[in-house]
């Protein structure tokens, strides 16, 4: 999103981390700009979704994303390697294990609204955000010219 004071572009999710020390952080509806510290009102979800729908929001979000992210943060259509699971409870871990969502498998996110739909192998699954957040993935690098033969691949984004 965009800071309404200094006009800096930043990732609202990332900014939330900065808030975690604040006492009222859970119920509060504002987001602190990481550059100037101004509290902007949180982007309404509907608005964020609409933006994502038009593609611009999604692209911006994708640029801001590191290679390690959660399944829920992938773009629809994107594949990634599952590297770890961070379930919130034993039950949730059990569900992911039961579905065969395990580190080492490749997952393709197909939809992120109204639920998260993804594919592992020939199976298709749907989960809510909570479970998709629990799956940590490493994205393959996209929109990078194919490495010349012999060059080590894949590239780290930092090297770009």
């Amino acid at each position: 999103m965009n800071c309404s004071y200094c006009n800096a572009d930043f990732d609202a999710e990332a900014a939330k981390h900065a808030c975690s020390a604040c006492l009222i952080s859970t119920g509060c509806k504002s987001v602190k700009c990481p550059r100037c510290g101004y509290d902007s009102p949180e982007e309404p979800q509907l608005f964020a979704r609409l933006k994502a729908w038009w593609g611009r929001g999604a692209e911006a979000a994708a640029e801001a994303l590191p290679r390690e992210c959660t399944l829920s943060q992938l773009r629809p259509g994107e594949s990634a390697l599952i590297t770890a699971l961070r379930p919130g409870s034993r039950k949730d871990l059990q569900k992911l294990l039961a579905l065969g969502v395990l580190p080492g498998s490749t997952v393709t996110l197909e939809r992120n609204f109204p639920s998260f739909v993804f594919r592992v192998g020939f199976s298709q699954y749907a989960t809510d955000r909570m479970l998709s957040d629990a799956v940590v993935v490493r994205r393959s690098v996209v929109a990078v010219p194919a490495p010349a033969a012999g060059e080590p691949a894949p590239l780290q984004p930092a090297a770009l």
Binding site: K91, L96, G100, S115, D128
Partner: protein
């Protein structure tokens, strides 16, 4: 007797295979979770009778829902001598860990690679001889729906029943785990002989149910076992995670050696359709179309309107009932005394034959049958899991998750049956909320049909739906959401995260649809027809003893408060036995023009909110306990009247006339 168990994940064709083996029908479904009860049947193998048991699907031997516990309990009790492990051939790699678990429990397993047709179409190639060698068990390829592989499976089973197969080569885990497994297994009592390794692994994964079992069997030794488990839980990643990873690595190694998967996959028409069903822009209109044509037009207007009209008025009304009454009158001609009352028991306005059987055959049978047909088609196509993911976010607001669609939609057919299906839900809170919503705000098909037929005749409306019907449907929707939201705040307990496999969408198979519809109809009639007769009997006793006159007199002021004529009081009284009985009573009043549009709406809303029938109460008691069943029922009756009175007050205050 020798027992053979069929286990596997949901939707791999277990029920179809069960039918193939036993010639008996278990309900077949394309929705995870509709086989709630265990089906048993018999077949002849190796010259003897054997029992075949079909179990509800499970994803892992660590159960999440109650129904998954059913299959596991059977395995832990070591009930089957041989287990048929059914897997989806194209997903072998993902399903092999379950196979490994079965072997760790010391089960004799025959692995069935089902859905071979789908696997071939996708270009998945399986090296079966290599699999046999590597896994050390019989492996059979099959297409359950066309019977391919059934003779081979029988042969493999017969062989296993005669001679036990080689023991499973144990899969190795990391050293710390192996040590813990060893320490636990040596302390297990004799009763677990053969399955020590599997049981030890379940214990190390902190399985409370297995712990109970072992504790009961070991006595004093349990403390030592518990110490080992606690220790294992403490070092490093949770054991269940480490165990799952090790099994997956093994599964990958096996798959690498024995399975060839094509790199690219072709998108079929069914895939595209499935994708459209879960896209919010296309999914919502699709749902609306399905509901409008399926429920409103097919079940409501066609079933409850046309078909019932024909059966009730033309067939029963003109021929069967008058003929039966005339027959009774000839047999017992006296105008009063015992002859009159005997006549009334079987015939007349409320007789067991003229009311009970007529209602069952002419009204309920066609409506329920059409509903189950509609339901079975949707179920077999694989649409329900897609519906579940569409509504998950909305259902979270009423304390449920997407999985609740199956009981709730089934409730539109029969609330009683649906209340039983709440067992597929994970937490107690969800089961309570679903039970309440089913009893209060989800009209069953018989009632829904009668009420639709009743309200749709009101003159003003749009799109073939009268305003009265729309108002009725909206009030129910508001009650559903409102009570759901309230209940999600009031009912204590955990909510569950939503996860679900989406089976491929398939064109419904006529035979499956017929079998499923027939199985549900059979259940319905065994459960419900006796109740119809029982209700007629109660009404007869009530009238004979003049008890009903007193009750009706007591109800007159209540219906008066709803702005209804006293003639509706009997309809409400009968509505306590079955909501649709009451609704049908209104039907005849509306026919004579004794009720205005507003009064119809008020009485239909009130009746719909009542408990659906006596059977509903009994099943609520069975599933939720007497205390909760009574509390819910009391609350529901009060709510029903309160909402009826409110609707009436609003109509009066606004001067709306429907």
């Amino acid at each position: 007797m020798t027992v053979i168990g069929i286990v596997g994940t949901p939707n791999v064709g277990k029920s179809v295979m069960f039918n193939n083996l036993t010639g008996r029908y278990a309900t077949v479904s394309n929705y995870p979770g509709t086989t709630v009860e265990v089906s048993r049947g018999r077949t002849r193998l190796a010259g003897g009778d054997v029992e075949v048991v079909d179990t509800p699907g499970m994803y892992s031997l660590l159960p999440i829902t109650d129904e998954e516990r059913v299959a596991r309990k059977m395995l832990l009790d070591r009930e089957p001598q041989v287990v048929i492990h059914m897997v989806d051939a194209k997903n072998l790699e993902r399903l092999l860990p379950q196979f490994l678990q079965l072997r760790e429990l010391g089960m004799e397993v025959v692995l069935v690679l089902n859905l071979m047709d789908e696997a071939r179409k996708l270009g998945v190639e399986l090296d079966v001889p290599a699999l046999r060698k590597r896994l050390g068990v019989s492996v059979v390829e099959s297409i359950a729906t066309s019977g391919v592989g059934v003779p081979e499976l029988k042969e493999a089973l017969a062989l296993r029943l005669r001679t036990p197969g080689p023991a499973a080569a144990p899969l190795g885990y990391d050293p710390a785990l192996e040590q813990a497994i060893h320490q636990v297994s040596v302390r297990l009592p004799m009763s677990f002989a053969g399955s020590e390794r599997g049981v030890a692994l379940l214990l190390l994964q902190d399985d409370a149910e297995v712990a109970e079992r072992v504790k009961a069997a070991t006595g004093a030794g349990w403390d030592e076992i518990r110490a080992v488990i606690a220790q294992a839980q403490q070092d490093g990643e949770p054991p269940q995670y480490r165990i799952a990873l090790a099994r997956q690595a093994e599964a990958q190694a096996i798959a690498q050696a024995c399975v060839r998967v094509p790199r690219s996959r072709t998108r079929t028409f069914a895939d595209r359709f499935a994708a459209a069903a879960i896209h919010p822009l296309t999914g919502a209109p699709m749902l609306a179309v399905i509901l409008y044509f399926g429920l409103y037009q097919f079940v409501g207007v066609f079933g409850a309107g046309k078909v019932v009209d024909f059966l009730e008025n033309d067939l029963f009304g003109t021929y069967v009932t008058p003929a039966f009454d005339a027959f009774l009158l000839r047999l017992l001609p006296a105008a009063d005394g015992w002859q009159y009352w005997t006549r009334e028991l079987f015939g007349g306005e409320f007789g067991m034959i003229t009311l009970g059987v007529t209602y069952a055959m002419a009204i309920v049978l066609p409506i329920v049958c059409l509903f189950f047909l509609f339901f079975s088609i949707l179920e077999d196509s694989g649409y329900f899991p897609r519906l579940a993911l569409l509504v998950d976010a909305l259902f979270k607001r009423i304390g449920l998750n997407g999985r609740a669609v199956i009981p709730l939609v089934l409730g539109l057919g029969c609330d009683t049956m649906a209340t039983m299906v709440t067992r597929i839900q994970e937490t107690k809170k969800e089961r309570i909320i679903t039970t309440l919503l089913l009893a209060l705000a989800v009209p069953c098909s018989a009632q829904y049909g009668v009420i639709t037929a009743l309200l749709v005749r009101q003159p003003n409306g749009v799109l073939g739906m009268s305003y009265a019907w729309l108002a009725w449907a909206s009030i129910l929707a508001v009650m559903f959401v409102g009570v759901g939201m309230l209940a999600s705040k009031l009912v204590k307990g955990e909510e569950a995260s939503f996860y679900m496999e989406l089976p491929p969408m398939r064109l419904p198979k006529l035979s499956n649809v017929v079998v499923k519809t027939a199985a549900r109809m059979k259940w319905y009639f065994l459960e419900v027809l006796p109740l119809f007769l029982f209700a007629s009997l109660l009404i007869w006793v009530g009238r004979l003893t003049h008890l009903f006159d007193a009750l009706i007199a007591g109800l007159v002021p209540v219906v008066g408060a709803l702005g209804l004529p006293s003639g509706t009081a009997p309809a409400f009284l009968y509505g306590f036995f079955r909501r649709d009985f009451g609704a049908a009573g209104l039907y005849s009043m509306a026919d004579t023009g004794a009720l205005s549009g507003n009064q119809l709406l008020v009485s239909c809303v009130t009746l719909t909110l009542f408990l659906p029938c006596v059977a509903q109460f009994l099943i609520m008691k069975k599933e939720r306990g007497l205390k909760m069943a009574l509390a819910m029922s009391g609350g529901i009756v009060v709510t029903a009247f309160a909402v009826g009175a409110t609707v009436n007050a609003v109509l009066v205050a606004t001067g709306i006339s429907l």
